[in-house]
């Protein structure tokens, strides 16, 4: 069996096991169980982290606008899926809002009640992604000419501007101003999240392995050399930016599903920083790393280390030490240690199938020594 074949089988097996595990969790545990919550949140973060990695890790464009694109996706999803009957109560300060249709309901009318609502929800996600991509295209026109830290600060600025617009009262009939959007349909089980996010990530992986992906990596490694090899810098940078934002938009829509309510306030730069740090923990330039780090991060912060905030941890009861906020403080110390001493993160730039390689290399080394 060739190495390549072995790797593909390994990958398929791991993915199948994970999917089976998720299906089991869904079958055995109720929707409000912490395990289901963790899987939902982690898959959303994984998708957004991978989309950020595509830009920061594979194309070398240091962008900090992710939260803004997620905001667009989240609002698009919320605005398009709130049932018509509930609009009056959600938009109570804006006379029921100006949009009087709901994609899941319209689709249910066309396709029937069995698949219609789901198709409508997916369509709303897609609209969010497309909107984010369009916005990215417009923002990219001036911003992508900038480099490294200037690009970072300009994208950060755009995200803040977007947030201001969504809180603006004049847009209230659509965005509900600074009030919450709620009562929209969500998936109760974890499996739809895993499938959705997994599908999106698979598309990103295919993209990275295509000629476009190679061009992105070439730009990251050396812009001048890439240009000399005939890669159109402006076009590829724009492409990476737009694609990354598209998936961030979809991730934002899924975030809205997970959270149950949407407001512009949580989508600030702190959220981008959080996602960036997840990417760094996983390894800049590794899709597997980003996914792994998302699950680790969400699992430990939502579940494993809960005790650090509520008084008891590992059986040690110290309410004065383990009070609210200790968990995140401990977490950020770990993150700083990774940033300073393990700059490659968990995976470096390796992917899941490459784990087989290491063993293979060791064997080869031993053979060579003999």
């Amino acid at each position: 069996m060739t190495m390549k074949k072995k790797k593909s089988i390994f990958l398929v097996v791991v993915l199948a096991v994970l999917l089976a595990a998720c299906l089991t969790v869904d079958a055995l545990l109720p929707g409000y169980h912490i395990a289901v919550t963790v899987i939902k949140k982690a898959t959303v973060y994984a998708l957004v982290a991978v989309s950020m990695n595509l830009l920061n890790g594979f194309t070398g464009l240091f962008s900090l606008g992710q939260a803004g694109f997620m905001l667009l996706g989240a609002y698009a999803y919320g605005v398009l899926t709130i049932p018509v009957a509930k609009r009056a109560s959600v938009y109570q300060y804006f006379d029921g809002g100006s949009i009087q249709f709901s994609l899941p309901e319209s689709c249910a009318g066309i396709l029937g009640d069995a698949v219609g609502p789901t198709v409508g929800m997916l369509a709303a996600l897609l609209v969010g992604g497309v909107l984010a991509a369009l916005m990215a295209y417009l923002i990219g026109l001036p911003v992508l000419r900038l480099k490294s830290d200037y690009l970072a600060i300009a994208t950060l600025g755009f995200a803040e501007i977007l947030r201001a617009f969504f809180q603006w009262n004049a847009l209230g009939p659509i965005t509900n101003g600074s009030n919450l959007l709620k009562s929209y349909p969500t998936f109760t089980h974890a499996t739809p999240y895993v499938l959705l996010s997994g599908g999106m990530i698979a598309i990103i992986v295919l993209l990275i392995n295509s000629t476009y992906g190679r061009a992105f990596k070439a730009i990251r490694d050396d812009e001048v050399a890439a240009e000399a090899m005939g890669i159109n810098l402006a076009r590829h940078k724009r492409l990476a930016f737009v694609i990354s934002s598209f998936f961030a938009g979809i991730g934002g829509g899924m975030m809205a599903m997970y959270m149950g309510t949407i407001a512009a306030a949580p989508f600030k730069s702190a959220m981008t920083y959080e996602i960036l740090l997840i990417v760094v923990i996983g390894g800049i330039g590794s899709i597997t790393g980003s996914i792994l780090a998302s699950f680790l991060y969400i699992f430990s912060s939502e579940w494993l280390l809960r005790g650090l905030d509520s008084g008891t941890f590992l059986g040690i009861s110290a309410p004065s030490l383990f009070k609210n906020g200790f968990r995140m403080a401990a977490f950020s110390v770990i993150i700083m240690a990774i940033v300073l001493f393990f700059r490659k993160g968990i995976m470096g730039d390796r992917e899941l199938p490459d784990l087989l390689d290491r063993r293979g290399r060791k064997h080869k080394k031993e053979a060579a020594e003999k």
Binding site: R145, L146, I153, I161, G325
Partner: protein, 292 residues
């Protein structure tokens, strides 16, 4: 004019506070080419220390304590988080800065319990109300621009006429060559962080005298705006940062005065993007375009 006046006075005052923060950004960027994302949080910590110190200690002990604690924080951040990465790519340095910012905010959340700390004992005299052109305002609002200008003059003297200032200019011009010329680069970098943090502490004392409370996120926005001011004025240039900060402070307050409070933050970033696209070197920047 009568209606706009309080906004103009406020704007100049806010501009002065931004200027004091912006200098910290511009000095560090000039030498390390690093956007010190943690600088805004250093500013916030100074505010927190002030709240705690003034409620426990007499004023003549509390204020020096705020300055010393902030300077120490800036110094330690540089030594722990930036010095080990001196030869690393710039992106690692920036990630480290974001990590430090995250760490400080989370530590502050743990210590304060996430509750905004009220400024219970504002500093007397400067928080008294005075009348200017028929408008009532706090004395600190008038004092800020004056103090800012005095501090900036002192700083400009330090940079142009002392040995450490000369070393700082040399390091900003060419890092490697400065090292070869026998400049102890680590001492110079530490010094820039000390100066930057000191000015941020002064800015923080002035800023939070005007506000009812210090929250853990209070540092983020002023920090980013001060950075925009530094870019606007031409990063690396001290007069640029000061002028930029005053312009941004003024515009922001005038926009608030016109009733578009939601957009006062957005305006700053829009300005940043326009400046970066039209004149990347800023108002007073050096003619080096390789950075943008």
């Amino acid at each position: 004019m009568g209606e706009g006046l309080p906004y103009i006075i406020n704007g100049i005052s806010v501009g002065g506070q931004y200027a004091l923060i912006a200098i910290g950004y511009t000095l560090v960027y000039g030498i390390l080419r690093l956007i010190n994302f943690a600088h805004g949080d250093v500013f916030m910590v100074a505010g927190l220390v002030m709240v705690y110190a003034t409620s426990a200690l007499p004023l003549y002990l509390a204020l020096p304590l705020v300055l010393i604690a902030t300077v120490l924080l800036g110094f330690v951040i540089e030594r722990v988080a930036y010095k080990p990465l001196r030869s690393a790519p710039r992106m690692s340095l920036m990630i480290s800065a974001i990590g430090v910012s995250y760490l400080i905010q989370n530590l502050a959340f743990y210590i304060t319990g996430g509750i905004p700390q009220p400024v219970t004992r504002p500093i007397p005299w400067i928080s008294d109300n005075v009348m200017v052109f028929g408008q009532s305002t706090k004395r600190v609002t008038l004092l800020t621009p004056v103090l800012t200008i005095l501090l900036v003059l002192a700083l400009v003297y330090l940079i142009n006429h002392t040995k450490i200032g000369m070393a700082m200019r040399a390091a900003a011009k060419d890092f490697e060559t400065a090292q070869l010329m026998g400049i102890r680069i680590n001492a110079v970098i530490s010094m820039t962080f000390v100066i930057g943090s000191f000015l941020a502490a002064v800015g923080s004392i002035l800023y939070f005298t005007n506000y009812p409370s210090v929250a853990i996120t209070s540092g983020g926005m002023p920090g980013l705006k001060a950075f925009v001011a530094a870019v606007f004025g031409g990063i690396g240039s001290i007069p640029g940062a000061v002028v930029g900060a005053f312009i941004i402070g003024l515009c922001e307050e005038l926009i608030k005065g016109a009733g578009y409070t939601t957009f006062s933050d957005a305006f700053t970033f829009a300005l940043l993007i326009v400046v970066l696209c039209v004149k990347p070197t800023g108002l007073f920047g050096e003619k080096v375009t390789d950075k943008v």
